[in-house]
Symmetry: C2
Subunit: 221 residues, 2 copies
Amino acid sequence: MSSALAPEALTTGPGPSAGRRPEKTEAILDAAGHLFREHGYGAVSMDQIAREAGVSKATVYAHFESKDRLFAAMIHGACRAYAEGLMPAATEMEDVRAALTRICREIERFLLAPKTLGIYRVIMAEGPRFPELVQSFIEAGPLPFRKMLAEFFEAANRRGALKVPNPQLAAHQLVWLVRGPLYLERMLNLKQPLWDEQSVDEVVAGAVDMFMKGYAPDARD
Amino acid sequence: MSSALAPEALTTGPGPSAGRRPEKTEAILDAAGHLFREHGYGAVSMDQIAREAGVSKATVYAHFESKDRLFAAMIHGACRAYAEGLMPAATEMEDVRAALTRICREIERFLLAPKTLGIYRVIMAEGPRFPELVQSFIEAGPLPFRKMLAEFFEAANRRGALKVPNPQLAAHQLVWLVRGPLYLERMLNLKQPLWDEQSVDEVVAGAVDMFMKGYAPDARD
DNA sequence: GTCTATATAGAGATAGAC
DNA sequence: GTCTATCTCTATATAGAC
């Protein structure tokens, strides 16, 4: 299932890195990641990648069997970044509102960062051509984070700090209350942003407010 | 600004449709729309478009100056569909919860439909290459709808039916409370959907519930 | 493994007949 | 305007020297 993203299957050659210089692998991956995220898969040529990486095109093909495989490797790296960038978000022993605020800030910081948006842009654009890659990405990134949020809500339920009937739905709601209002303008690089700099705080605060009003234990329902 | 989407600027030739047969224009636009939405801009060739439209490639170029212009014309059509598909959503003289439920159903029906998702997919993918087109699309579709929602909330505020301090933010929140939970799985065509068929109703109901708890006039704060 | 130079295929766009 | 046949450029991928 996630074999398409297994690291050892992504580079070329017989043995494990038979003489390839890791620094060049890294440089190629960096260049590919930057260019793919910025301009999309189809619009980027292997020549550009080689040039930006400071190597020849033949070297690129010595490290990665094809453009497809290089793309897969780049997405694989993004999954690791996802896990590292967003996972340590929740701790239980804390005021709920403070914890939610911190989580929402993390969501804003990571999910709306240019790098993450670039990954999503290219995944959504090329998804139909790489279905197994999409599945791997979802299972490595967004789903574990939703699951962790749901578990956080369940723990808060047990403590009586929240009253969340459907933790999975609530996880999606919290994520999108923060992400949604800023999503289009960041994803599309709008010249006239819908929100100014300080409005980001309003979006975060609005998300926490609405979530608390919806799921605070003393709310009528 | 929106000149890139002006209908008269999108087809080829000197006079207004100097001898071109509208049915073929329509067929080409339909084929282009379908293919672009399904596979993206770069992955679709003018040959494929011509074949699917049942005309020759030269005919395509007789109707549309270039692939770029054909793409722009297709986005233009999508803007009209956006306005027609989502605009008559709100009426004032109605129970607020019922109106919100109806609006949310419309959001689910239109914004999460395969056709709309395809447009968003290709707009986000090719946005960097067509910045003025992105601007036109946003101004013709999402922004007016947000504005209409905000005005609906303001009217409800005046009637005392709601208490919405920031109508613009609330508009985004409502849209994404419905759209968000279903967005990734539909946008990426996940094989194992996160929600089953009946859960869509739960998402809609959950959005209305949360919105009402957040902005009902008798809410504490 | 890494480079320069090249093979080959495919796509956007056009020429010329009707 | 519409078709068939073609031009031309670019991109993926490879051959061969070091």
